[in-house]
């Protein structure tokens, strides 16, 4: 993790590159999320002030688009693709299996903050349906067993590290 | 429409409501006398009849459906009535009785609020009363309803209008006459 002043500097540089142009708000929010992991009220207020935009406008934009997260995600993130092709090929069963196995609801994280489960509407990997994204990597032709095993491996590996 | 000798059989029913709609009905005042010449009240909270009779022509129902007894009564009324009318906002929208619908587990919460939180003595939920439905519903979500008279309460004038039109064999036009609240 970068230090706070370093992160702020990154964000400042990026906004300067866009000349504090309010039309680059989406790009700037993307960058903010990339730097901080999610969009908290503090950074939203900072962006609003820097771009000279009303806070409610910035908040409205940040919550309109599903790509932006206003809450910190878990250490590991699994995202199920709910696109048509994946749906037809049974991604719902995978989602339910993950929910059951790790006691987590979609859109939320496990109590220990280790795993977040999200859904997205189509990642465009439809020919490999059903697809699931685990920590940024696409798993095509996924099955409940494959996903759960992979997640167990990730979470288990983590535990041994912390021990 | 009707033979002069044969009066139209009218029933009224009171479910989960405040009886205000019935009061409004009585507010027709002297018009009630004219009406009495044409109709015969065969079942009503203001008439002492225990069982809903067969072959009723018109039934006016006040109140929403909130418990299993009301549900049964309503279904029975529907089976035995030609024309069923929702009278007042509770019957038409659910209105105040339905406000509890906003909570999950609303039947239980409502009972606890009434019989435990707000009770001074004997804090307990009675077991010998009809069971509350999980959701309070307007009549047309449960049975087919033929006409609607919204209002809290509907004015005597609107009730008169609808009944007069129906008795004259016409379909009431509710434009400009549906005042909710």
């Amino acid at each position: 993790m970068l230090r706070e002043d370093k992160r702020r500097e990154l964000l400042d540089n990026f906004m300067r590159k866009h000349e504090y142009d309010e039309s680059a708000l989406l790009e700037i929010l993307h960058k903010t999320q990339e730097i901080y992991g999610y969009l908290d009220n503090e950074s939203l207020m900072y962006v609003a002030q820097s771009l000279n935009l009303p806070p409610s406008h910035v908040y409205g934009v940040a919550t309109f688009y599903s790509f932006f997260k206003l809450k910190a995600a878990g250490e590991h993130v699994v995202t199920g693709c709910l696109g048509t092709a994946c749906y037809v090929k049974g991604v719902e069963e995978i989602m339910q299996a993950v929910e059951r196995e790790f006691n987590v609801k979609r859109g939320e994280s496990t109590a220990d903050g280790k795993l977040s489960l999200f859904v997205t509407r189509c990642i465009g990997a439809c020919a490999m349906a059903p697809s699931v994204v685990i920590d940024g990597e696409v798993m095509g032709k996924a099955t409940p067993e494959l996903v759960i095993n992979k997640l167990k491996l990730l979470l288990g590996g983590n535990k041994t590290e912390t021990r | 429409m009707m033979a002069a000798a044969e009066k139209v059989k009218v029933a009224t029913m009171w479910l989960s409501g405040c009886s205000g709609c019935h009061m409004s009905f009585l507010d027709m005042d002297e018009l009630l006398i004219d009406l009495a010449a044409k109709i015969q009240v065969v079942y009503s909270p203001i008439a002492d009849v225990k069982v809903f009779p067969e072959k009723v022509d018109v039934t006016l129902i006040e109140g929403a459906v909130a418990n299993d007894e009301q549900l049964e009564l309503l279904k029975q009324a529907r089976e035995r009535t030609k024309v069923l009318i929702s009278l007042g906002d509770c019957a038409v929208t659910g209105n105040v009785p339905a406000l509890r619908n906003a909570w999950g587990n609303s039947a239980r919460l409502a009972l606890e609020r009434a019989y435990i939180e707000n009770a001074d003595v004997n804090k307990q939920i009675p077991t010998d009363v009809p069971e509350l439905l999980e959701k309070v519903r307007p009549l047309h979500e449960v049975v087919k309803v033929d006409y609607y008279i919204p209002g809290c309460p509907p004015s005597a004038g609107v009730i008169t209008y609808v009944l007069t039109e129906l008795l004259a064999g016409r379909v009431p036009n509710m434009e400009g006459k549906c005042k909710y609240g």
Partner: protein, 555 residues
């Protein structure tokens, strides 16, 4: 070569030089490195080939190239060896040595690794995807060698803006974003608009679930999009362009960013394009997960950094678009057609496809079909040909039930409509739409009520919330569906569903709401018996619904 400012005549030289350079190789090994193949290890395969040709000492006669998608996304990583267009499927690094040894060194293609579905390519006609899988998208020289940027040179050197528009009008090209508005007419409107500056927005916000043709194009041939934008800018008098792309497409973004940088370095973008007085530059704008942002007026709001809420038209973007200025909004697939139209003439283009719908259309063919992937077929081809010839029929030997054409707001069409030719008007007539080109094959294991509910759910999630019919109406439709699939429906619900759907279609503000009820309307029209069985018999013919109800009852 890169970084030198080019003049109009220089491109020809680069092309010739590249072609000469290519000729030195006997074989070309094209490894598909697009989003469909990368997760299955395409980059490892690429590396393995580079090592294997060295190992066998054939690196002088073999060019190993990273390319875009050939379309057979279900059998990736895919590798094409030229000459002969041998398509190897499911290539893994451990198979690479054998391929190089047998195919390149011994001249014996490895038969059992080859893609066997010849029919997949037979009925396709590749215009937009002309370079997909053939050139390295990260090298501008590859594109130039394939005849790229020759069209903008032709425009700048020999054509007036009006002349370009005339050719586009003559081509009969219609917008590929879904609505099918004639492209030439749109260009004329923007060109005639007097205020300035003017803008171009290239729409790459492919939000339809199940559709990835635009992404494939951007990953395989980014310069075709840029050239299309350049020509459009020249024709309408625009000087700034934005490509609005989904943030969920990192590889396409990277490819486009590289392409823009290369084009700028060679003075194909920027001030004085190819040392002429024409100036045009392109910037990327990222979407952030909003299907509605693909709508023409919503995309403008999003490019301006606002909530992607559509606004009523008029005013049309051609007169009042970005920041109130004339703006040409065009899908990237439409734009990729433009260089070919300029080079070969509108008359040539108008002969492809049908009279009213010229050219080709890219489709993402997915669902329960044997050969899923990206296809490009001439307009007017029948659904039957697409599903059974190109697609190779229904997967797992199941029975065909329906085909959904046009994405989540498309229509579910039954077997009886399979002979329907695919064009804008025929599809609209039967309640489907072209949309952005999704074709999902549905087999007899799927329930049509559940399918319609799924698409309604999608549209509810993606509704912007501005207008009442779409925001509140769709939610009510969903509630009715939930009742039916819980076993609490009654036959009157069907009338309510239909009434509400038609109201939403007619009364909604934008295309999302106007088309959102299509799946409901078409399934009610073509599969009403399935609804009736759910309601009357409490039976789901595909055994998908009532499951949760049963489980709850058991508990």
């Amino acid at each position: 070569m890169e970084g030198t400012r080019l003049k109009l005549g220089d491109l020809q030289k680069i092309a010739e030089h590249e072609v000469d350079f290519e000729r030195a190789f006997k074989h070309r090994i094209n490894v598909c490195c697009s989003s469909g193949c990368v997760p299955f290890g395409a980059f490892d395969v690429l590396k393995a080939f580079q090592e294997a040709v060295k190992e066998f000492g054939v690196e002088k006669e073999c060019k190993v190239a990273r390319t875009g998608c050939v379309g057979t996304c279900a059998v990736g990583p895919a590798v094409v060896i030229e000459p002969g267009d041998y398509l190897y499927q499911n290539v893994t690094p451990d198979k690479v040595r054998q391929i190089v040894r047998d195919h390149i060194v011994l001249g014996l293609p490895v038969k059992d690794m080859l893609y066997q579905n010849e029919a997949f390519f037979k009925k396709q006609h590749r215009l937009v995807l002309r370079n997909a899988g053939k050139i390295d998208p990260t090298r501008i020289q590859d594109y130039i060698a394939a005849g790229g940027y020759a069209a903008i040179v032709k425009c700048l050197a020999t054509m007036t803006p009006q002349g370009v528009i005339y050719e586009v009008l003559g081509s009969g090209l219609r917008g590929r974003g879904g609505a099918g508005f004639p492209t030439g007419q749109k260009w004329s409107l923007v060109a005639r608009s007097h205020s300035s500056p003017k803008y171009i927005v290239a729409n790459l916000d492919e939000g339809d679930p199940g559709v990835f043709a635009n992404r494939t194009l951007a990953e395989a041939d980014p310069h075709a999009i840029l050239e299309g934008m350049l020509i459009a800018a020249y024709a309408v008098g625009a000087e700034k362009g934005y490509i609005y792309i989904r943030a969920e497409y990192p590889l396409a973004i990277e490819t486009l960013q590289k392409a823009i940088a290369q084009a700028r370095a060679m003075s194909l973008l920027g001030e004085n394009v190819l040392e002429t007085s024409f100036k045009f530059d392109v910037e990327l704008r990222f979407g952030a997960g909003a299907f509605v942002a693909g709508e023409e007026t919503a995309i403008l709001a999003s490019v301006e950094g606002r909530r992607a809420m559509p606004r009523p038209r008029p005013p049309y973007p051609a007169n009042s678009g970005l920041w109130g200025k004339p703006t040409l909004i065009q899908n990237v697939e439409t734009l990729a057609n433009i260089p070919l139209i300029v080079l070969n003439g509108g008359a040539w283009f108008s002969k492809i496809g049908t009279g009213k719908c010229t050219g080709t259309k890219c489709f993402s063919l997915t669902g329960k079909v044997n050969n899923p992937g990206i296809i490009e077929v001439p307009m007017g081809i029948t659904l039957h040909e697409v599903v059974f010839d190109v697609g190779g029929g229904v997967a797992d030997n199941r029975k065909f039930k329906a085909v959904l054409v046009g994405g989540p707001s498309g229509g579910c069409l039954p077997e009886t409509l399979l002979e329907l030719p695919i064009d804008y008007d025929s599809l609209t007539r039967v309640g489907a739409i072209m949309g952005s080109g999704g074709i999902v094959v549905i087999d007899d294991k799927s329930c049509m009520v559940d399918t319609a509910k799924f698409f309604t759910d999608f549209c509810i999630d993606e509704s912007c919330g501005k207008c009442t019919p779409c925001r509140a109406g769709l939610a009510k439709i969903k509630e009715i569906f939930e009742g039916i699939t819980r076993g609490e429906g009654n036959l009157e619900d069907l009338a309510t569903l239909e009434k509400a759907s038609i109201y939403i279609r007619d009364a909604s503000l934008c295309g999302l709401g106007q088309t959102a009820p299509n799946p409901v309307i078409t399934t009610l029209r073509y599969f009403k018996d399935e609804y009736v069985r759910h309601i009357v018999d409490k039976v789901c013919p595909a055994d998908r619904c009532f499951k949760n109800v049963k489980e709850v009852n058991k508990q």
